[in-house]
């Protein structure tokens, strides 16, 4: 197998081994060919472009899945371009999730855009570019390639938010998203520059070994020399100096702001409700699932590898941010009149829950003499597990909102849901199921995913955070169930017939339902996949 290569084997330019990069290459070729087809054809109807996009994304998904065998050996991975590009199980897991969400988004979009009168081929190519950015990002082994991937993801998202060119809400959302997004990227880049300034590298492995006691001791001992106890104590003194460098506090603050913006964590969540409300509904679904999953993944990769040694410094701060995020999200969701906006706040709250898993990736123990950090696999696995569950569980409600749009009503307001149990019994039942999932009730995947997060947090001594999360879950139950009450106990306010949706939309909706239930009832395969994808992240430290 070509894929199982370690670092330093594929950084020469002439080697021409593109096995691990194949999914990205395939996707890139599809993007270019589809956009050529799109702007050369006279056809105003973009249905064919939509199908071609789905084919391209599925081909990429297949090529990602075909790489599983290559890295299954465990601690090995395909590393290319001086560690800029890393293909490990973690990357494969997230690429698969992102691609699945993207295929579903494209499948539901065509009729929605056509009815709104904003058909464009760019819509599809931009989604593919965003996916390409995410794939590069989750494979980033270097802060620079992560940053490039992040921008390649973010810039198409700004455009996609404003794709309804004559809708003032859409334009406003796009401009807000663009300005704030550009600013937060600048903050992140500033943080990266400090990392480079202190460590002299932006490679995650280099950053990790900067904080590695064994590496420092070896460097102090010199080539081929034994590490004596004196050298060891000198090395640990050196490590202590490195860890207490105040620049890293600045770096952690800048990183928390930069990544926190992307995942919509409080206090960097302000853009989220406006953008989610203004964007076309399929794009809102895409942003709240795929973009969020990819951003969290990279948050996790950076903090679990490069910055893991600084866990003492960031865990508590991020814990507080997590508590703040879920509280702000849940309490503001209660008062919303628009369901789309309510789901945006709920998505902020869920970012708070997932951050709980992020802070639980390590546990600090102090035996009176030395401070040591141990990894908790459950913390990392619970984040991934939640991300995949949330992807399906949260796309569903947006599809239902999309299906409720009629000529005169947006389908987004609470009023559209009044008496839905009578107007469309099946949609109402499915919506209720998704609300159960988002609250975290069995038999949906939401329950298992939340349970796993809480379990990891308690294991990492973040009991206080778990209590905050439990209280928050109770608050969230109020507004999720109120939607249920509105659907079943109120009389319909709207007498318009609900439009028939294309088969593809129904199919995607049922896939979301089935996966949500499947994860809830048989979670073991997903547990395994989540745990398995950590193999190499663990090996890094």
């Amino acid at each position: 197998m070509v894929g199982t290569k370690m670092i330093e084997t594929l950084h020469t330019f002439t080697s021409g081994d593109f096995t691990g990069l194949m999914p990205e290459i395939i996707l890139c070729a599809f993007v270019l060919l589809i956009s050529i087809y799109d702007f050369m054809s006279k056809n105003k109807d973009k249905e064919i472009v939509s199908y071609l996009t789905q084919i391209g994304l599925l081909a990429t998904l297949i090529s990602v899945l075909s790489l599983i065998g290559d890295t299954a050996a465990g601690d090995k991975a395909y590393v290319a371009y001086n560690g800029m590009f890393v293909l490990d199980n973690f990357a494969i897991f997230l690429k698969a999730v992102v691609l699945m969400v993207a295929v579903m988004t494209v499948a539901i979009s065509h009729k929605y855009n056509k009815e709104a009168g904003y058909e464009s081929g760019e819509y599809y190519t931009l989604i593919m570019f965003a996916v390409l950015g995410m794939m590069i990002m989750v494979s980033g082994g270097d802060l620079i390639s992560i940053f490039v991937g992040l921008e390649l993801m973010a810039i198409p998202c700004y455009f996609l938010t404003g794709v309804f060119k004559k809708d003032s809400r859409s334009i406003e959302a796009a401009l807000k998203y663009f300005l704030m997004g550009a600013f937060s990227s600048a903050v992140l880049a500033y943080g990266i520059s400090f990392v480079y300034g202190v460590i002299g590298s932006t490679n995650l492995e280099a950053i990790a070994s900067f904080f590695d006691l064994a590496v420092i001791a070896k460097a102090k001992a010199g080539v081929g020399m034994a590490v004596t106890p004196e050298i060891m104590s000198a090395a640990s003194a050196e490590l202590a100096t490195r860890l207490s460098n105040p620049i890293f506090y600045l770096v952690l603050v800048l990183f928390a702001a930069g990544f926190g913006f992307k995942i919509a964590a409080a206090p960097f969540h302000m853009w989220c409700p406006d953008v989610y409300e203004g964007a076309p509904t399929p794009i809102t679904g895409f942003m709240s699932t795929a973009v969020k999953a990819a951003s969290f993944a990279i948050f996790l990769r950076v903090y679990a590898t490069g910055l893991f040694a600084l866990h003492v410094n960031w865990a508590f701060t991020l814990g507080i941010l997590s508590a703040l995020t879920m509280t702000v999200g849940n309490f503001l969701a209660v008062t919303q009149k628009s369901v789309k906006r309510m789901l945006a706040y709920s998505s902020i709250a869920h970012a708070g829950y997932i951050m709980m898993g992020l802070v639980s990736i390590g546990i600090v123990t102090f035996d009176g003499v030395t401070l040591s950090i141990n990894r908790i696999d459950d913390g990392m696995a619970s984040v991934l597990f939640y991300l995949v569950t949330y992807a399906f569980m949260n796309l569903g409600p947006f599809i239902i909102i999309m299906m409720l749009r009629t000529k005169r009503n947006s389908g987004e307001m609470m009023a559209d849901f009044h008496g839905l149990g009578k107007r469309a019994p099946i949609l109402a039942a499915l919506m209720l199921l998704f609300m159960f999932g988002l609250t975290g009730l069995p038999p949906t995947g939401g329950f298992i995913a939340k349970y796993y997060l809480f379990y990891a947090a308690v294991k990492a001594n973040f009991t206080w955070l778990t209590i905050v999360a439990c209280v928050n879950t109770a608050v969230s139950a109020f507004y999720y169930f109120r939607l249920g009450m509105v659907m079943y106990m109120y009389e319909p306010k709207i007498d318009e017939e609900i439009n028939a949706s294309p088969k593809a939309v129904h199919a995607v909706l049922y896939i979301c339902v089935l996966v949500t239930l499947w994860i809830g009832i048989f979670p073991d395969k997903f547990f395994e996949a989540a745990k398995h994808s950590l193999m190499r992240l663990k090996y890094l430290l």
Partner: protein, 121 residues
């Protein structure tokens, strides 16, 4: 006191002091006879005719963006051309740069097709 950046700090200190002192000194020493002409915004001696917050045609923006795109392309071609060497890069390097240019050409044709180069419309 032997920090390598100390001279720069001293220089910055004196630069700051010099600026402040000069401004204050000249303010004290010079005659002050303002009139409307003198108080108006200085714009290279030409009279001011409109507000600076005027609207600019979006065409300028498109041209600027296209210029940037192909300018960056050219900037990438230089290091490639200098490092091009039959032994190391060879056919592989040639094919790579052709792919790179082809990708940019797609963008060029896209802009063409979308009438980004039509100034009059």
């Amino acid at each position: 006191m032997d920090h390598p950046y100390l001279p720069i700090l001293i220089l910055m200190f004196f630069a700051f002091i010099f600026t402040v002192v000069t401004i204050i000194m000249s303010d004290l020493a010079r005659p002050s006879k303002p009139n409307a002409e003198k108080n108006s915004t200085y714009e290279c001696g030409a009279p001011i005719f409109t507000d600076a917050r005027g609207m600019v045609s979006v065409k300028y923006y498109i041209i600027a963006m296209l210029f940037l795109l192909f300018d960056v392309e050219a900037a990438f071609l230089y290091p490639w051309a200098i490092n091009y060497d039959k032994e190391t890069l060879g056919l592989f390097g040639f094919v790579e740069i052709v792919i790179f240019i082809a990708i940019l050409l797609v963008g060029y044709f896209y802009a063409w097709r979308k009438e980004a180069f039509e100034w009059e419309s």
